[in-house]
Symmetry: C2
Subunit: 231 residues, 2 copies
Amino acid sequence: MTIQLYDLAGAEEDRRFSPYCWRVRLALLHKCLPFETIAWRMTDKQAIAKSGSEKVPVLTDGDHMVADSSAIVAYLEQTYPDRPSLFGGPIGEALGRFVVEWCDSVQLPAMFRLLATDIVAHLAPTDVDYFTRTREARVGMKLEEFCANPTLRLSEFQASLTPMRRVLSKQPFVCGDAPAWGDYAFFGGFQWARCISPLKLLAEDDPVNLWRSRMFELFDGAAAKAKGYAA
Amino acid sequence: MTIQLYDLAGAEEDRRFSPYCWRVRLALLHKCLPFETIAWRMTDKQAIAKSGSEKVPVLTDGDHMVADSSAIVAYLEQTYPDRPSLFGGPIGEALGRFVVEWCDSVQLPAMFRLLATDIVAHLAPTDVDYFTRTREARVGMKLEEFCANPTLRLSEFQASLTPMRRVLSKQPFVCGDAPAWGDYAFFGGFQWARCISPLKLLAEDDPVNLWRSRMFELFDGAAAKAKGYAA
């Protein structure tokens, strides 16, 4: 049975903008595993209830149902060891967790401050109230206020990328000569932005931008072809 | 011929406080390579001139002389592939560079703001003017001014550790079940602090503190036994 991925969609069914779902999509492509996606909206908790999670990504593989992007890629690596490795061994897997935690605590929060109102503008009508209410409770203010002063926020975001910028000025991918999980974890955020915002996040000559261009081209341009804005 | 490591020393010859030298010392212990250290002071450029570097760590191994902690561990891994691996393969090595760049651009600058005046207090007399002049030029102010408001700086430092804190709440070492290069890269900064400052950097129950305690005990307590303060 084909692997299925519950994948966050916007008002348009083909606008797939979750950074965590994109991490998994690229991991599935990396492992050469065929899959299909199921468009999912934030308020459709019932569809994924069996997974124990209220959020996507959720992946089904035969009888298995796995939620959370890190748990999903660990499952894929363990279940399909003969396919190209996402981690390159236990130390690569452990350090991949550091990349994920850095992305989740530094990169994505800084991007959310740039993107929150753009997200609202692309949500399915059923999701707008839910998203606005839960996110305003999380950040403690109106999203319009949270996203004020985008010029300052953009420079803060770009400064926060310093460690990755230095790495990517020395090697073509986060994981070295070829992309792997660390690249997909970091790239998810950029694809999130591209799918819902026209904002120019990176200077042309930024090593992070050059890396992002390489990422767009992977797997026959899977990320570049997805519905979104010019990066 | 035994490997030799030029190692930064303070006013007391056995106070060895460079974070970068500590990274290399633990990497040498990890690889079970016998070595001896040579006490070095910042102004003794002549002693290491052959390496092309003006700073330690500098390692000599027979006819080879290698400077820079990242270059040194890459040299050790390549030269002694039969010894325990520091990287666990190419992806682990590539992601180790991200750990190093994060430490060098986030962890160590935040710590320097807490430690700079303590460093001056422990320097060899020959190094005091050199250090003060070069560092004040770098930070653009007097070191006393730079180190003002330590309570605020400590909370900023602790907050900056979030990604590592999350990782270390899930696994005992940065590199997984056992320590490797990513651990030594991150630990160097804490040992730097311990050697020259009585400042309590971490809460007792902080997962980073629990990890640090494990690191002190490695290799027969090599870091814990070094001259310094209680951590």
